[in-house]
C-alpha cells in the first residue's frame, strides 16, 4: 500500500508544477512548426546499449515507421508515447525482431547491439530474444503452473539443469518481480489463476528468468488497475538498476513517473526525444506540446 501512496503523491506534486511551467515556456520559446517532421532533440546518447539507424517499417503498402534514428542507453528507462497507430509498438517489436512473425511486415535499417546489426538477415532471433526480453500488453502466462511459467525459458536455453539451480531461478525471478511473497505457497498452481496484476508480474518474472539485458514492455499496465500499476512501476524502477527498459505507454503520467528519457511518435515519425523532464516541461516541437497538454490524442 505504501507504493500506491508514494506514487499517488508524486503525481499530485508533479502535475500542477509541470503544466504551470509548460504554460510559462509556451509563451516564451518558439516551437518547431507542426508540419516539420524532422526529429528534434538528441537521439544519440554516449555509450548506447542499442543504436537504431534509419529504421523503416512497412506493413504491405503502409509505411508505419519513416526513417527513425534512436539510441537506447544503458540502465535507463526509455518511454515511448504518442497517439494510437503512431508506430511506437511497431518500433518496440523491431528491437527483438517480433515483427518477423508478421508476414506482411518489412523492416529495413540497422539496429546495432554490441557492435552487431541485429536486424541483419544472418542473425538468429532465438538468442536475440533471450537477451531482449518482452512483456506484452495483455498478461499472457502459459496455462501451466507458476513454476513452469518461470522455468520454460531457462529450460529451453539450458541455463540450468540441476534441480536446485532451477529452484533458485524460480525464487530469484519471483523475488525480483516482487511476486514471491504472494505466491511462494502455491508455485504449483496454474499461473492463469492469479489476478491480472499478479499475472503481469509473473510475465515479468518469466522474462527476467532468462537474464535478458534489455526488457521491452508494450503497454504493460493498460489492462491493470491503479494498485497493480503502481506495483509494476515500482518494479520497473528497481529493474532499471540492472537492465535497460523500453516501455510503450498511453499514460503520460506513467511516462513522467518512471522514465529517464521520453520519445514522442506521431504518425510513423519520431518527433521529439529528450530527457523526460525536458519533454514534459519544455517540449521543443509544437506537436509534442499539443499532445502532452491534451490538445489531441
Amino acid at each position: 500500500m505504501n507504493v500506491e501512496q508514494e506514487t499517488g503523491q508524486k503525481e499530485m506534486e508533479l502535475n500542477p508544477a509541470q503544466t504551470k511551467e509548460a504554460m510559462d515556456l509556451q509563451s516564451k520559446t518558439p516551437k518547431v512548426d507542426r508540419e516539420n517532421r524532422e526529429t528534434v532533440g538528441d537521439v544519440r546518447v554516449d555509450d548506447p546499449r542499442m543504436r537504431c539507424t534509419d529504421i523503416n517499417v512497412h506493413y504491405g503498402d503502409k509505411h508505419a515507421i519513416k526513417g527513425l534514428n534512436l539510441d537506447v542507453g544503458k540502465k535507463e528507462i526509455l518511454s515511448m508515447i504518442g497517439p494510437s497507430g503512431c508506430g511506437k509498438s511497431t518500433f518496440l517489436r523491431c528491437l527483438n525482431r517480433m515483427n518477423d512473425t508478421i508476414d506482411s511486415c518489412r523492416v529495413t535499417g540497422t539496429i546495432e547491439m554490441d557492435g552487431v546489426d541485429i536486424n541483419g538477415k544472418s542473425i538468429d532471433v532465438v538468442p536475440l530474444r533471450a537477451s531482449v526480453g518482452m512483456v506484452f500488453q495483455k498478461p499472457n502466462p502459459f496455462p501451466k503452473s507458476i513454476r513452469e511459467n518461470i522455468l520454460f525459458g531457462p529450460r529451453i536455453h539450458g541455463l540450468a539443469t540441476d534441480k536446485d539451480d532451477l529452484e533458485e531461478i524460480v525464487v530469484n525471478s519471483l523475488k525480483k518481480a516482487g511476486l514471491w511473497d504472494e505466491v511462494k505457497d502455491r508455485l504449483d498452481q496454474p499461473g492463469t489463476g492469479l489476478s491480472g496484476g499478479q499475472q503481469q508480474r509473473l510475465c515479468i518474472a518469466r522474462t527476467i528468468a532468462v537474464e535478458p539485458e534489455i526488457i521491452l514492455m508494450d503497454e504493460p499496465c493498460s489492462a491493470l488497475d491503479p494498485i497493480s500499476t503502481a506495483a509494476i512501476e515500482e518494479l520497473m524502477l528497481e529493474l532499471s538498476e540492472s537492465y535497460s527498459i523500453c516501455i510503450v505507454t498511453h499514460s503520460m503520467q506513467q511516462a513522467a513517473r518512471v522514465s529517464n528519457r521520453t520519445a514522442y511518435f506521431h504518425l510513423g515519425d519520431l518527433i521529439e526525444v529528450g530527457t523526460t523532464d525536458q519533454v514534459f516541461n519544455a517540449p521543443l516541437h509544437q506537436l509534442t506540446e499539443d499532445y502532452i497538454t491534451g490538445r489531441f490524442g
Binding site: V126, R129, G153, I156, T207, V210
Partner: protein, 428 residues
C-alpha cells in the same frame, strides 16, 4: 415526414415498442416450438431405428442347444489318432437311438439336420481334452441347426402349411420330443463373439470382423494421425501465404467431400495393381481409409491450432523459444483436445466405412481370424453387408446383432473422445 409528425400527437418510442411486443413474443414461441418439434422428430427416428435393430438382433446373442446321449465307440474313434475319428457318425448314432422308429434315407437326413454340423467338432474337442471318455456313454450339449434355432425362438409359425415352412412336421415332432425331455434350451451365444464367419449361421461369429476392423483402424490411426497433424501444423504455423499453399488448402477441403468409393478405386489401382500389395489385407484397407480420413484430421487440427490464443505463442517466442519449441511446448498441448476429437471422429467414420473396402477385396468370405495386418480379413460393416445378403433366416438376427456390436464400438469411441477432451482441457 415532418408534416405527418405535426399532425398526430407526439408518439413515444416506448409505445411503439410495446405495441410490437405481442408479435415478437409470438414469433419467439413459434421458433422454440419448431425447435422442440424437430428434436422430437429426430429422437423418434432414432428410437425407431434402435428399436428395430434391437428387437431383431437381441436373438443373435442366444443360441439353441440340444442334449444328446452318445456312445463314444472305440471302433469309431481311434484312441491313437483322435483327429481322424468318425465323430459325426457318433452324433448320428445318438440321434438314431433317440428316435429308433425313423427309417428311410430322406427321413434320416431330416433327423441328422436337427443338430449343427459343428456338433461333431465340439464332440471331437471334448474327446481330445479328455481321451479317457472313449468307450463310455456320455451326454453332451451341442448347438442345434439354425432352422431349429429359429423355430425354437418362435420365428416360425407352426400353423402355416407344411410346404411353406422350413421346418417340416416330423421335425417339429422330434423337437417337441426334445422339449418334453428338457433336452433343448437357449444359451448365451459365445460362438457369435469368438468365431469367424461361416456358411452356417449357428457357427458364424463376428470376432474375425472385429479383429479385421481393429487392424485396419490401427493402420489408419498410425498413418493418418501423425501425417495429418504434421500437415496441419505446417500449413497453419509455418507455410508461407502464397497461391500454391492456397491451392493445397482448397484441394484438402475438396478431398473431404470426395465419395469414399473413389478412394477404394484409387487403392485398387495404386496399392494393389501398381505396388502389388495383397488383396483383402487390412494393411491396404488401412491405407485407403487413411486417404479418406486425412482431410478430416487436417481440417479439424487446423481449426484447433487456430483457436489457441496467439498471445501464448508470442509469449513463448518472447522468451526466446524457437518456433518449433513454442508450438510443441505450448500451442500443440492446448490444441490437443480439438485435434483428438477430430481424429476420433475421423476414426469413427473410418470404422463405419464399407464402400472403399469392397473395392480392395475385403468383401471376401473369410473364415479364419486374421493374425496380422497382411492376412486376408474383413471388417464389421462389410460383415454386416455380407450377412444381410444371406438367405438364411438366422442371419437376419445376426445382421442386427452385428449392427449392435458396431454401434457399441462407435459409442465407445465417441466416449473416449469426450473423456480425452475433458482430460486435456485447460483454462487460459
Amino acid at each position: 415526414m415532418n408534416n405527418q409528425q405535426a399532425d398526430t400527437a407526439p408518439r413515444r418510442a416506448i409505445d411503439v415498442i410495446n405495441a410490437g411486443m405481442d408479435r415478437r413474443k409470438r414469433s419467439e414461441k413459434r421458433f422454440q416450438l419448431l425447435g422442440k418439434l424437430s428434436i422430437a422428430l429426430a429422437i423418434g427416428f432414432l428410437a425407431m431405428l434402435l428399436g428395430s435393430i434391437v428387437s431383431k438382433g437381441y436373438g443373435a446373442f442366444q443360441q439353441t442347444y440340444v442334449k444328446l446321449d452318445v456312445h463314444l465307440d472305440a471302433a469309431k474313434i481311434d484312441a491313437e489318432n483322435l483327429n481322424k475319428g468318425n465323430y459325426s457318425g457318433v452324433i448320428k448314432e445318438g440321434l438314431r437311438n433317440m428316435f429308433p422308429d425313423v427309417s428311410g434315407r430322406r427321413e434320416k437326413r431330416k433327423l441328422y439336420s436337427l443338430v449343427s454340423q459343428s456338433a461333431a467338432y465340439q464332440l471331437q474337442a471334448k474327446v481330445i481334452e479328455e481321451p479317457g471318455l472313449i468307450g463310455q456313454a456320455i451326454s453332451i450339449w451341442v448347438p442345434a441347426d439354425d432352422e431349429v434355432d429359429v423355430f425354437f425362438k418362435g420365428h416360425i409359425n407352426r400353423d402355416i402349411a407344411e410346404e411353406d415352412r422350413r421346418i417340416k412336421d416330423n421335425q417339429i415332432r422330434w423337437i417337441d420330443h426334445f422339449i418334453e425331455q428338457n433336452r433343448i434350451e437357449k444359451r448365451f451365444n459365445t460362438t457369435f463373439f469368438n468365431a469367424g464367419d461361416s456358411r452356417n449361421p449357428e457357427s458364424a461369429g463376428i470376432w474375425g470382423a472385429v479383429v479385421g476392423s481393429f487392424y485396419t483402424l490401427l493402420v489408419t490411426l498410425l498413418l493418418s494421425f501423425p501425417v495429418g497433424v504434421a500437415s496441419a501444423i505446417y500449413l497453419e504455423e509455418f507455410a508461407p501465404k502464397n497461391k500454391f499453399i492456397d491451392f493445397i488448402e482448397v484441394n484438402i477441403n475438396n478431398l473431404a467431400a470426395v465419395p469414399s468409393i473413389i478412394f477404394g478405386l484409387l487403392g485398387l489401382a495404386i496399392f494393389i495393381n501398381f505396388f502389388g500389395l495383397p488383396r483383402s489385407a487390412s494393411f491396404v484397407g488401412g491405407l485407403v481409409l487413411t486417404l479418406m480420413t486425412l482431410p478430416t484430421i487436417i481440417i479439424s487440427s487446423r481449426a484447433a491450432l487456430k483457436s489457441v490464443p496467439p498471445s501464448i505463442k508470442q509469449a513463448a517466442l518472447g522468451v526466446g523459444a524457437s518456433p518449433m519449441q513454442a508450438i510443441f511446448y505450448h500451442v500443440l498441448p492446448l490444441a490437443m483436445p480439438g485435434i483428438l476429437t477430430g481424429t476420433i471422429l475421423g476414426m469413427a467414420q473410418a470404422l463405419g466405412e464399407s464402400a472403399p473396402l469392397l473395392m480392395i477385396g475385403m468383401v471376401a468370405f473369410i473364415v479364419d481370424i486374421p493374425a496380422g495386418i497382411f492376412d486376408p480379413s474383413t471388417v464389421l460393416p462389410v460383415q454386416i453387408f455380407l450377412w444381410a445378403d444371406s438367405p438364411e433366416r438366422a442371419f437376419l438376427e445376426r445382421t442386427s446383432g452385428a449392427i449392435m456390436v458396431l454401434l457399441g464400438f462407435l459409442v465407445l469411441m465417441n466416449m473416449v473422445a469426450v473423456i480425452l477432451r475433458k482430460q486435456f482441457e485447460r483454462r487460459w
